[in-house]
Structure formats: C-alpha cells, structure tokens
Symmetry: C2
C-alpha cells in the first residue's frame, strides 16, 4: 500500500521516521504560531501523525508541479490548522524554514488560513464544512471528466461535521461512487468553546457515514501503524468513498495545552517548553510519492455547431436563451461543463444536459455542494457553468464568497429573478442577487434583456476570470438586438437618445423603460434610454455622459431597492464626478402572488412608474 | 392514540372518513391549481392521506387561535404543496371554498407558497430544506422555553432531503431529545426534473435517520391505518424525534399525472376528468383536536440589573460590548434568548450563556440551523439574538432572506467584520454583510463605533420588528460617547462640524475619519464628521444637509466597495435631492493576513487615505 520512493532516514525504521516527522510537524506548528503571535497550534498538533503518514507514501503529488492533473489533492477542510499544513510544506521541501516563520505576516503568502496564493493549495478554506464538498468536486472531476486516477484527500475537523454541507458531500460522494475520495476526520473532541456535540464517540460518526454509503474506519489517530493500514484500505478501489475517523488529542504532546479546553486558536504561552517536551526541533525531509504517469487526461471532442440566434421581435425568455447558449458553447468547446440544482427544466440547462450528458452534473437540491463541485472542477482546468433559481443561489453565498478567496473562475446563472416571475410568490423570487453578487470580490454581474444579448454575454463568460454571474428572467421578453450585435463586459447600450432625462433599465425593466420613453415622448419629454446589461463592471463613461447631459436619471430594477442596479449607477455617477438628480425605482414592499405585470405595477417598476418618476424629475428640474 | 373530538361523518367509519377526506384534499388541490393556472397539484396529491389522518385526531390546534402556545405547529417544509395545505385549511373550516379558489391571485393571502399572511402558517416555506430546521426551533422552544407539550409536525418532500440543512436539523433534534418533533416525509420518488437520488428506497432514509438518532417508521403513505398507527407511535414520549417515511405516489388518483415524470409544478390539463376519477367534489369538514389546556407557559424571572457602561477613552471591542449588553438585557427581560454558532467566546455571547444558561442555545457550527431555530423561537413570542462571525452569517443567507418572507423578528449580530480583524485572513473577514443585509426586506442595519453606542443599539434591537443586524469589530476602539447618550435607529451623530468636506464613517472607520479630520484641520480644511451608526434606515436629513453644505463627501468603510455604507450614503443623497462630489473608500483588493492597521492602510480606508481623498475633493471643488 505504501508507495515506493517515499522518504526515510538512515537508522530509522519507517514507523519511527513517521513518528519523528509528526513531532517535527508539531514543533514547527508551535514555532510558526509563536512567531506570529496567533494561529491554531493545538488544532494542528492533533493531526500530526495523520499528516506524517499521509505525506510519507500515501499522498501522490508532483511537488514541483502541483497543478499536475495526475497528482492527488490535499484539501485542508479544517483550514485553521494552517500551521500544520505549512509545516508539511516545509517537510516536503516546498517552502523553507524562513518562509514558515513569515506565517501571518503582511505580504507573506502563508496566510492565517490557506489560500491558493500558495501553489500547493487547491482552494481556500477557513469557512468550515467547505473543504470536503470541494474535495467531492475534485474527485468527481478526476473520475468523470479527466478520467485519471487522481485522489482527493480532505482533512476535516470533528467540529465541522455539524455543517449540513458536509452531509451534502457525504450524500453526493457515495451516489457518485467516488472511491478516489478519502476524508480524514481529526476527532480531537474539543471545538472552539468546548466539547463537540459527540465528543470522542467515533461510532456515531461511523454509523452516519455508513448510512450515507461510505466505508468508515475508526482508528487511534496517533498510532502510525493503524493510520498506515487505514490509508491503505482507503485507497483500494471499492466503489465507495472512505472516511478515516481518527481519535486524537488536541494539543497532543505539550502539557500546557494537551486535551485542555480554552486552548483553541491561540499560540502557546511557553512555546520553548512545549518544543522541549516534543523532543526539540528536527529537520526531517519527506519525499512525496510521485503520481502515476500512466494515462492521458480525457478530452471531450466537441461536435461543433453555431450559437443560437433569434429574430428581432420574437418573444423569448432570457433563461431559455441561456440554456441554448450554454448548449452551443458545449458544441464548440470541450472544456465547458454544466451543473444544476435539480431545476434544469426551469433554468434550461437541460438543453446542455441532453446534448452533452457526459459533461452535465445533476447536483440535486444541494446548492452548496453544487458550487463546491464547480470550484473543484475549475481548479482542474474545466469551465463550469452552474445554474439554479437566483433566489436559491443565496443558499450557497458563503461558498461563493469563499470561491473568490480561492481565486476561482466560476460561471453562475440565477434564473427566475424578480417579482416578474409572478404567481409563485416571494420565496422563489431572486430579489437580492445583484446586491449579493456585486459584493463578491472578482465578480462580474451581467443582466441581459433579450435572447441575443444573453447568448453574447454567456459566450463572454466562458473566458472570464473570477466569479461571473448572469441573471435571467422567467418570462419572455422581445428580441431587440440583432444576432450579430457584439457586447462587451463593462459596456452598455444607449437605445434611445434624448437630453431631458435618462432612463436606466436592465432585463425586464429595460423594456419598461423603452415603453416609458414612448409615453414621455408623447408629452414632449425626450428621454435617453440605457440598457445597463453589465452591472459590474459598469459603464462609467456612458452613465457619466448621460447624467451630465440630461441632469436627471431614473433607474428601475426588478430587485430590492438596496444594493442593486440603482446603487451601481449612483456609484458610477459619483466616480464620473457627475451630479444629477437621481430617482431609484425598485421593490420596496414584500410582494405576494399575482401576474407578472400586476406585480411589476404594484412594485412601481413598470413603464407607468418610470414615466411618472421621469416627469417628476423633469418638472423639478425645470422649476429649479 | 387518536384524540377524541375529531371529526367524523355519520355512516362512515373513521378510516373511511379519512380516505374520503384525502380524496377531497386531492380534488381541492386540483381545483385551486386549475383555477390559478399554476401550482403544484401532483406534489399535493401524494400526501393527501398523510394530511387527512394528521388533521383527524393527531394534530392539536386551536383553529380559532392559531397562536395558542399550547397548540401544535404544522410546517409545510415542502411549501410548493400549498394547494394541499390550503385544502386542509378549508376542510378544517379555517377558510371557505371561495377563498380557496382565490389561490395565487393578486391580493389573495393564499400565495403560491405559504406565508404567515395566513394566520395558521407559522413560517414561510418554499425554499426547500428550511421547514424541518425551523420545526426543530419550534419544538426546542416549546420544550426548553415554554415548557408546554406543543408538538411540531414538519411535512417534508423527499427531494429536499438532499439539502444539508435537513441533516443539521436531524443532528440537533436528536441531540436535544426533541420527542415533540415529527417529520413526515412524502417519498413520492419524483423530483422536479426526474427521479430523486434514492427513489423509493425508504431504507436508505431510515438508516440515515436512525444513525442520526431518530426513530424511523416506514409506511405506505396511502394506507390510512398504517399512517394512524405511525403517528400514534411518533407521538409517544421516547426521548427521540420521529420521522415517518411514507412511500407515496406523486399525482396519486388521477391517471393523467399519477407517477408520471414531467408533471411537476403545473396544473392538470384535464382537471374535470381527474376530479371525476377522484370521485368528484366533497364537502367534508374535519374537527381539529383541541390542544391540552393543562399547564402554563413558563416564564423566566429576570434577576434584574443595569446595562453596562464604559468610561470615555477606554478601549473596548464593540463585540465585547455586545456580549455585555446582551447579558444585561437578559438580566432585565425574561423574553430575551440567545443562540450562537460555537463562537460564543469570540462574539461574547458567552456572557449571556454564563448568566442565563437556560435561555442560551449552543447551535454548534450550523449557521443555517441557528437562524432556523431563532425563526421558530420568535414565532412563539421570544426575542432571539443569534450571533456568529459576520462572514459566517453568509452561510445562512437563504434562511435570513426567507425569515423576512416569514415576517420574522430576528436580532442578529455579526462579529469580526472587515480587514481590521487582522491576521486570520479573508476567510474570516465579514466584508459583504452590509450589502447582504441591506438587501433583506424589513432589515435594520446597525454599525456601532464604540462600546456605549453598542449597548444603546442592542437595547433598541430587542423591540425592533423585522430583521435587525448589528455589526461588531474584533479589535478595541476608544469609547467616545457618554454612557447616557441615547441613540435612535435611523439617526446619526455629527461629531465635528465643518463646511469644507464631510467625512462619513462607522465602526472602525469612524475613528479613522476623526483622525483624518485632525490632519485636515492642520491643513486648514474644516471637515464635518458623521458617525453613520444606522446604515438602514439612514439619516437622509443629516446626510443631505452635510452634502449640500459641504459639497464634498468621503465615505470610508471596512467592507467591499460595493453595496455597503458608500452605496447607502449615495442613495440618501439622491433621496435628499442633493448633489455633491462623493468619494467612496472601501476594500477593493483581496486582503491577506497582517496587522489590523497594516491591512486598513493597504485597503486605503485609514485616516491617511480619508484625508487624502478629502484633500483631493476639496482641491477639485476649489478648482471648479
């Protein structure tokens, strides 16, 4: 089971080497936390033998090329044990002792919780319960997309098993038969504030894991022979994922902290004494086993095809255009994959599923696992598009936030935005998505109003870095753009020129703004109409010019009044240094059920409301 | 087991009555969906017998007083089965047939998914996986706070068992020994787009439930005798919650849809034929069993005490002041309760826990369950305060969004906001919370800068309706307000008067703004400084006056640049009709680790950056 080529030291048998290596990892964890004056040494010390044995022969990784798709993944789901992780990197020769001691200092890539600024880190962790679901994505991707024997090892804390996302991961991993996934749970019994719910009752966790279709192995997490045996069993092909439940002692080896409450997340008071009790500093090096070089990464041969196009005046829902555009992307690119949260007939990702079933992942109603899987897949070089109702992406907001810390390139689609969905009512209406996504680092927020524009923007998302988000509507909107029109991210379209007032809309409200403009013209008011399809980045120039030339701006959005399109426009005007009278129209009261046009009228975001606001602004301006 | 006093009809035995009642519920579900032209009749038809038996003798509810704390709760976790729920209300005499047929029409309280606009609805559902965790909160509250034999019944779909939040609920319910909680799972095998992960394999669900410490009973969900028996067993005191796993057929009883894929979420094409196959319309009435009138609601006798106060100039973290204020609220009010996500020594809710252990709920690392429990508790009239790191409240964003649809009154605290936490790095930094909470309906967003202000605002939260949120910082800030100062929600404080430029800050940046003001005065620039502790609602008057009198506004926030304080101020200025040059300072680049002051400097939100921006604006203004 243990791979050849792993490191040993003359005069030491392998078990002895691993015990010594574990002590070194503890000492280095204590040292770097002491130097930083903060960190989680005790959560690191409990898992030292687990990591020593993993590094010495079980983990297969090309340390000089951590992006090698044949290598294994090591995901520290318990990201606060970063001292242990960085100590492992030092033992493996990836970083030196000087860098280890830069831990948590400004400018150091060894942050308080691991991020991919360190190239051996696949994904950022530190929000508990995320590493294992992402490891599911990595293992799923290796098995079904790359078709390589890469494994994903997730080091979990026992405290994080209370996160529901962990059980989404357990559910999906067994359903997908991921025997290339191994979860190692460091059951050190003590959480941040006290004992965990289940303490050292490993049987409780084992029963749950087995009921969720996993192999479960219970061991003493400080017994290197037992660990070696468990990892060997875990890596046999069984058709099932394996969890190794390791009973450990928090702060193991240092009297000051060993198995003591109140010692979470702080450096030791007397690190020197602890280092002495741990047998002093060591300088052992471990040679990580190389990945199997056999086999080639699978590539999908795209069948070829043309992007969809729609005739001017046709009525097409943007969500349907999304599905068609996504399917067409899959026709021409083999690297595009799709995921959906069991609503693919609503988001229309079913069009991709039906055309490219090998590249489609049904994630069922588990939005957190869906985003986590996408994060794993993009790490292995694929281009995942994940979709569900905009409202239900809020379920995964912490995962999306963390994906940004992971520097992930994700493409997300939220359908059924706004009150204009109609009868289903507020639980199904995405009304906070623009605000939520604007406040994600690295995000791009797109909001098309017609089918051809949707196609153009979805194509641009495929090669966009960061988290890109497209918002689609349930109902049909008329096609107003020619299929040959090209859109750029950060742009806008001025659809009607006028100097009395600017009407800004996007998606369904763009059409309301156009209708309002007709009514205003009848009154002799000449409005400018801007289609703000790119909410972030935003077209500061066009908005600044409009604000300055018309002096009055009405923004209408099918979204809560705060944080969305209106706020984005206000910021753009401020950035342009332009002063204008601005009226934001958005949803202010909790909607109920009703027909789309009834609800838009009630919310005050329809053509009539836009025209009224514009008349008031223009009247106020002419009085001023 | 079956309660006396339940409804029967002459000439029908009880089982026959229930079978007939079930058919009526199906017919009415078909009728109201047909009338609406939308809805989920097939998801309703599968659970008709389950509901018929529940209503007839097992559920105990004062239909004329649904808020009676002795009554049971009926939570439709599968909220899309609203036709069934409303048909139940009709059968119980709560609504009439005319109202039933108003389903999904504008103005009708019978929305597409149930909300508490209907008084028998405890909480809004429709985002799957939320009803059961909220039922955990209701059951926990009945048992530990009210100490009444009220039960919570949650009707779940099988599709929603893939949501991790369901397993958080399973975990907590058994840990808390909630034998007053019964989950009924309508295993109809078919999700929205196809078969569920586990189809009709009830054993899989039963094994998982048992591993999570529940009683699990598997039955044929169309067999009224088996259902009656199961509910009887479920309501015996066992020290454990019970799940009834009912194998059912989606669309049962109507050939057009029965057990057919592609029939989710749409009305029947031929409702008349289905009604005929179901035996036609009926007008059965069921008398819901009355709650046990014995026992009195428990009240906690508060020990009395004084709110904390802090001396001017002392350095105190606002998170610590939060904990002290919360503990003091508990000293004077028996209705205040607290929950925390296993970080109570970081948020300082441990001060409440230690003083009022009977009113403190450790929710471990399960933020979704934490919010759900709080939603349940507020429904029963308590005043829950729930806390964790601001960053980790994003984990529960869907629950918070839905709490607003539930018209819930929640008090939330997010600690460790912003880059100013320092070394722990971005995974632990709340940088999107202001944007996220501003975009929650009914929200109040508070952001104190010192300890006395924190105390005053936390006191105001206790009686505030809607979702109120207070953001606290990790590090100490100087006390600048007298303990006797009174703050109002929607207000602000102008701490320094000047007419050259306005500096707006809150929390940690307020102190930076004050320091910037000192530097600007040295340059002969006279800044106004506003403490914007109430981000929503916002002080439009004070900001409008400041904007108009100074013509230049700099806003600094320890938050992503989009969606937070800056956007709120821009909206206030627009609402005031005031034009001013505005410069937003916020976090634009992904932070790493470092000392708080280093990270604030790097983010460009410290005194120096504020002073520089102010100088630039004033310079630009004097050039203009």
């Amino acid at each position: 089971m243990t791979q050849p080529g792993a490191g040993t030291t003359p005069g030491m048998d392998r078990h002895e080497f691993r015990r010594e290596l574990a002590q070194q990892l503890r000492v280095d964890s204590v040292r770097c936390s002491a130097q930083a004056g903060s960190g989680h040494p005790t959560s690191s010390m409990s898992a030292a033998e687990l990591m020593a044995v993993l590094l010495d022969g079980h983990l297969r990784m090309n340390i000089d090329n951590p992006k090698d798709p044949k290598g294994d993944h090591l995901v520290f789901s318990k990201g606060h044990a970063s001292p242990l992780y960085y100590s492992c990197l030092k033992a493996a020769g990836a970083i030196d002792d000087g860098e280890l001691l830069s831990y948590r200092r400004l400018g150091s890539r060894l942050e308080g919780h691991p991020t991919p600024r360190v190239p051996w880190v696949d994904v950022a962790t530190g929000s508990l319960g995320q590493g294992l679901p992402i490891a599911v994505g990595l293992a799923l991707c290796a098995k079904r997309l790359d078709r390589l024997p890469s494994r994903a090892w997730a080091i979990c804390g026992d405290s994080e098993l209370t996160e529901g996302s962990i059980w989404e991961a357990f559910d999906h991993a067994s359903f997908e038969k991921l025997d290339n996934l191994i979860a190692i749970v460091d059951v050190n019994r003590l959480g941040q504030t006290g004992e965990t719910m289940h303490g050292w009752d490993l049987d409780v966790y084992a029963e749950r894991a087995r009921a969720f279709g996993w192999e479960a192995i219970e061991i003493d997490g400080h017994d290197v022979e037992a660990i070696d045996d468990a990892f060997g069993r875990a890596t046999r092909e069984s058709g099932r994922p394996t969890v190794v439940l390791a009973r450990t002692v928090k702060g193991k080896g240092a009297e000051e902290v060993e198995d003591k409450p109140g010692k979470h997340g702080k450096p030791l008071e007397d690190p020197e004494r602890a280092i002495e009790q741990l047998g002093g500093e060591r300088d052992l090096q471990v040679r990580i086993a190389a990945p199997d070089t056999a086999g080639e990464r699978h590539r999908f041969e795209p069948p070829g095809g043309e992007p969809p196009s729609f005739d001017l005046g046709d009525e097409v829902p943007t969500r349907k255009a999304y599905g068609q555009a996504l399917k067409a992307l899959g026709d021409t690119r083999g690297d595009v994959v799709a995921l959906d949260g069991e609503v693919s007939n609503s988001t229309y990702s079913e069009l991709f599923r039906d055309a490219h079933p090998d590249r489609y992942f049904e994630m069922y109603i588990a939005e957190q696992q869906m985003i986590a899987a996408a994060v794993g897949m993009q790490r292995r070089g694929w281009k995942p598009f994940a979709s569900t109702f905009a409202a239900f992406l809020t379920r995964a907001y912490d995962f999306i936030r963390m994906a940004a810390v992971s520097r992930a390139n994700l493409r997300l689609c939220g359908s059924h935005a706004g009150v204009s969905i109609g009868e289903d009512g507020p639980s199904q209406m995405g009304l906070e998505d623009l605000a939520a996504f604007r406040a994600v680092h690295s995000s791009t927020v797109l909001y098309p109003c017609d089918a051809n524009q949707t196609v153009g923007l979805v194509e641009l998302m495929a090669d966009r870095d960061g988290i890109s988000y497209v918002r689609t509507h349930r109902g049909a909107t008329p096609v107003i753009y020619d299929p040959n029109e090209r859109f750029e991210i950060g742009g806008s379209r001025t659809l009607r020129d006028g100097d009395d007032v600017t009407l800004v809309g996007a998606g369904v409200t763009l059409h309301e703004a156009l209708a309002a403009a007709e009514r205003l013209e009848e009154d002799g008011v000449h409005p400018r109409v801007i289609d703000l399809y790119s909410v972030k980045p935003i077209d500061v120039d066009a908005l600044g010019r409009a604000g300055s030339e018309t002096g009055a701006v009405v923004i209408a959005e099918d979204h809560w009044i705060d944080g969305g399109l209106g706020d984005a426009v206000l910021t753009a005007l401020a950035d342009a240094g332009v002063s204008a009278q601005v009226r934001k129209l958005g949803v202010r009261d909790m909607p109920g059920s009703g027909k789309p046009d009834e609800l838009m009228r009630e919310a005050g975001i329809d053509a009539e409301a836009i025209a009224t606001a514009a008349r008031e602004l223009v009247g106020a301006a002419s009085l001023a």
